[in-house]
């Protein structure tokens, strides 16, 4: 069963491209796992579609969510996407750990090719379709509320950003069902991913998934930055911005500047593969170093794109749950900006071994170590914030504490890797894998999970279950240490990364421990699901409709939970940092205004999802050489953008009467419930009104 099927329509598709056919013809465990994963995608999609049909929720999904331009809903959809992709990439990680634990002097159960696809998809998904959507969703949800705005600067572009990210993620999922993914790692280095060595569809899936996703991120970055620059409420000067907004601003600036190099790198690789250009080939004047430079010119700032928002989350969480003003606010602002600037000066440390002079390596090594300074400042600021504070060990706070200790360990191993002569020893070993997981898991994942637990009550009006939250937390921390500390040892002993078969029996115990750790991490993901399930089931007991469950400090806590579509009936005026917290202590922060004015909110648009679908079709068509589909997708996207420029009724007006009804309902809830002290915040007594205890 080989040979192209209907090449005029289906391009280079062959039956053998279906994992089910491959598993039928060659029923090895490796192929069966591949077919099982593909089947899971198909069955999962059908199950969701079936559920929507049975419950009659298609229209609801379409009008309330997919076409919505409300920044809060777009933010939530980003986070849902991130959780779906996290599940896939974590399962892949477990498979890889199992393979390495089994494949000691033995081929294991995965073929080399399958193993390579797993580490490529795991990395690509975790960065582009887990971390990026999670933090973008978070910024989308929280930033406008924190700066006292009614929406982001460009609500329509916001929905395009989401749709493009989802389109990229869709291509990643499609690669499980049709064809295969790249085997070239998440960084996709040519010449290996060039036409000469990888003529299959894999690198094309990588190119288009990443390109489309990065376009979405550029748009999101522009949007968040403009929102913070232009839509702050009266009195919200830059030095009164909540810390999360500062880190979001720096992340957005990094996105604006760091996404273009990635777009250029993937586009030039595409030109090499599709039109026979010689940017990165071995022959005729191509130069792979151009790719390395372009990719890491993106890749290093990317590290800070995914870490800075988490730093912002920790700043909010530590301050709130220590009941203290954030210590060293100005130094944190300066440190954040310094990190953002320095992040563009260190990219060469990703390829110290690629032959530039010792002087260049020394300069980039020193710049790399310099980043440790502002990061250290931050750690001290958080510690000083807790010092003599009334620290409450809630789930977000636990993540923050685990982060501080774990991240410092990762930082120290980063200093080791920043020394070029040592890097020559550790380059391409598991030591590096241990290091960057040691940065990204506490530095991004813990931050995102802290944020999820912290802001969930704001978004949905009820708290997440504490017990399962703690269980999940314990599993994430224990699992992390067991899974990654052994990798330091293995890396220092010389075990190369991305190895499908191991020939050194002494590595066995460490690989077993790491595999056990991976299973605990899987249990952590399971605990998160249970936590969500239990929380939804028991939501009537944990409602915090009034909107302020944690004695919050910043403006987002001054609204109902969930906040109304327009966020603020009257735009707040800010006179100091932590306006809401101080306001609670000065008197009644919940007094209704004299009168309500009508508010314009953006009307939903089908063109956002349409552009996402068009982009995905275009990418899919390019992968499979279905030129008609690629052309159709591209034309469709352009047509949608042009069509939008003709639309004039972009806003919907909410009348003063409607607003008053909504606000009155909320204010009644606020006054009905007894303000509770901080000690009771994790009990059923918490309805979202905090007692203004003295600090």
């Amino acid at each position: 069963m080989s040979g192209a099927v209907l090449p005029a329509v289906l391009g280079r598709f062959e039956w053998i491209d279906l994992p089910f056919v491959r598993a039928w013809e060659n029923p090895t465990i490796s192929e069966i796992i591949g077919a099982g994963a593909g089947a899971l995608v198909v069955v999962g999609a059908l199950a969701v579609a079936g559920l929507l049909t049975i419950t009659g929720r298609w229209r609801w999904l379409w009008t309330e969510w997919l076409t919505s331009l409300d920044h809060k809903k777009i933010g939530i959809m980003y986070v849902v996407l991130a959780f779906v992709m996290l599940s896939r990439a974590l399962i892949e990680a477990v498979l890889m750990r199992m393979q390495q634990a089994i494949a000691i002097g033995h081929p294991g159960f995965l073929t080399n090719d399958h193993f390579a696809q797993l580490f490529s998809t795991h990395g690509s998904i975790m960065i582009f379709f887990m971390a990026m959507p999670f933090l973008t969703g978070l910024m989308n949800y929280v930033v406008p509320l924190q700066i006292g705005a009614r929406d982001v600067a460009f609500p329509w572009a916001n929905s395009i950003g989401l749709a493009l990210t989802a389109a990229g993620a869709g291509l990643m999922m499609a690669s499980l069902v049709i064809g295969q993914f790249s085997t070239g790692g998440w960084s996709g280095y040519p010449p290996y991913t060039g036409l000469a060595f990888s003529p299959d569809v894999g690198p094309d899936y990588w190119i288009w998934a990443v390109s489309i996703g990065s376009l979405g991120s550029t748009i999101a970055g522009i949007n968040i930055a403009c929102t913070i620059y232009k839509l702050r409420c009266p009195g919200m000067t830059f030095m009164r911005l909540p810390m999360f907004c500062w880190t979001s601003l720096c992340t957005s600036i990094l996105m604006i500047f760091a996404m273009p190099p990635l777009t250029v790198a993937t586009a030039l690789l595409a030109l090499d593969r599709y039109l026979g250009f010689h940017f990165f080939t071995n022959d005729l004047g191509g130069n792979v170093m151009n790719f390395a430079n372009l990719f890491w010119l993106f890749g290093h700032p990317e590290v800070y794109i995914v870490i800075l928002p988490a730093f912002g989350v920790y700043s909010e969480v530590v301050s709130t749950f220590s009941t203290k003003l954030l210590y060293g606010y100005t130094s944190l602002v300066i440190a954040t900006m310094t990190i953002a600037v320095l992040s563009f000066t260190v990219w060469v440390h990703h390829f110290f071994t690629m032959g530039q002079s010792a002087n260049i390596n020394a300069a980039f090594g020193i710049a790399t170590m310099a980043i440790g300074v502002p990061t250290g400042v931050k750690i001290y600021d958080w510690i000083w914030t807790m010092f003599r504070g009334e620290v409450r060990f809630t789930v977000p706070m636990l993540y923050s504490l685990a982060f501080m200790t774990t991240f410092v360990i990762g930082g120290v191993t980063g200093i080791v890797l920043a020394i070029p002569p040592l890097d020559y020893v550790f380059h391409n070993t598991l030591f590096l894998v241990a290091h960057f997981h040691n940065m990204l898991i506490p530095g991004t994942l813990y931050g995102m999970l802290a944020a999820y637990n912290y802001w969930f009550p704001k978004a949905f009006g009820f708290r997440l279950d504490e017990r399962w939250g703690r269980r999940a937390f314990t599993c994430w921390v224990v699992g992390f240490y067991l899974a990654f500390m052994p990798l330091y040892v293995l890396g220092a002993s010389g075990m190369a990364r991305r190895t499908a078969e191991i020939f050194e029996p002494d590595f066995r115990p460490w690989l077993y421990v790491a595999c056990g750790g991976a299973f605990i991490l899987l249990a952590a993901l399971g605990s998160l699901s249970v936590q969500l399930w239990v929380s939804v089931r028991d939501r009537d007991e944990t409602r915090v409709t009034a909107g302020d469950p944690w004695d919050g400090r910043t403006l987002e806590w001054s609204t109902a939970a969930p906040p109304p579509e327009y966020n603020f009936a009257v735009l707040p005026t800010v006179t100091r940092r932590d306006e809401f917290y101080e306001g609670k202590r000065d008197g009644n922060p919940y007094s209704p205004p004299v009168r309500y004015d009508r508010i314009e909110v953006p009307r939903g648009s089908i063109l956002g999802p349409a552009i996402g679908l068009a982009a995905m079709s275009c990418g899919f068509g390019l992968v499979w050489h279905m030129w008609w589909l690629a052309g159709l997708g591209l034309t469709g996207a352009a047509a949608a953008i042009i069509a939008r420029s003709f639309v004039r009724r972009t806003d919907r007006i909410i009348s003063p009467g409607e607003i008053e009804a909504i606000e009155r309902r909320w204010l009644t809830a606020v006054h009905e419930h007894r303000p509770i002290s901080r000690e009771l915040e994790r009990t059923r007594a918490n309805h979202g009104v905090a007692e203004a205890m003295p600090t």
């Binding site: 232009k230 702050r232 996404m259 080939t281």
Partner: protein, 206 residues
């Protein structure tokens, strides 16, 4: 809070909500252009790094001609001037005809530019200078047609805006989009100056 608002075309009441909205819209477009400028900067850097990669094929001196590129430069600069006239006519003019005439002239100049550029590429192809020939030619055909594609997008955009001016008139949204289009068009001029200086003049004087 006192903020300086965009000093370009006044849209409706000075300092009013529409003005504020336009201010934010245009700021966003400036940021987008900055991101786009970075794409060009990286393409220039790649071009510079690949000048040595001619792989025995034709180099800049064998391929570039000063005369057509100089005319192309003049065309684009003239089109920026005519777009400026379109903007003035939008602000002070008394109707659509003047605005549309200047927009049409700009479009015509842009299309002449594209035609001449396509002709240049055809001449290079005739000399066997295809992008697949060498790393240097890949970098050339990665950079210069990228600017051309932008000009093409700009031309389509002018057409779309002309249709809107005719069908909808110059309401706030049309005005904002015309302002953005203006920024885009002038931006392409700036990029072309760099292309002309670095690629063509630089290549011929090497």
């Amino acid at each position: 809070m006192s903020r300086s608002v965009h000093v370009g075309l006044t849209l409706g009441e000075e300092g009013g909500p529409h003005h504020q909205q336009a201010e934010s819209d245009l700021f966003g477009f400036w940021v987008f252009l900055m991101s786009d400028a970075l794409v060009f900067a990286l393409m220039f850097a790649t071009y510079g790094a690949m000048l040595v990669g001619t792989a025995g094929g034709p180099g800049p001196r064998d391929l570039f001609e000063l005369k057509p590129t100089l005319i192309e430069t003049a065309l684009l600069l003239a089109s920026s001037f005519t777009w400026g006239m379109a903007s003035i006519s939008l602000k002070y003019g008394d109707g659509k005809p003047g605005l549309l005439a200047w927009m049409g002239t700009t479009l015509l100049l842009g299309m002449c530019f594209l035609f001449m550029e396509a002709n240049d590429f055809a001449t290079m192809f005739a000399k066997g200078a295809f992008p697949a020939r060498s790393g240097f030619l890949s970098a050339f055909f990665g950079l210069v047609p990228l600017h051309g594609l932008h000009v093409l997008a700009g031309c389509i955009w002018i057409l779309v805006m002309a249709v809107q001016v005719i069908l909808i008139g110059t309401d706030d949204r049309t005005k904002t989009n015309l302002l953005r289009l203006g920024l885009f068009w002038h931006f392409l001029d700036v990029i072309w100056i760099a292309v002309f200086s670095v690629v063509f003049l630089g290549g011929l004087t090497r």
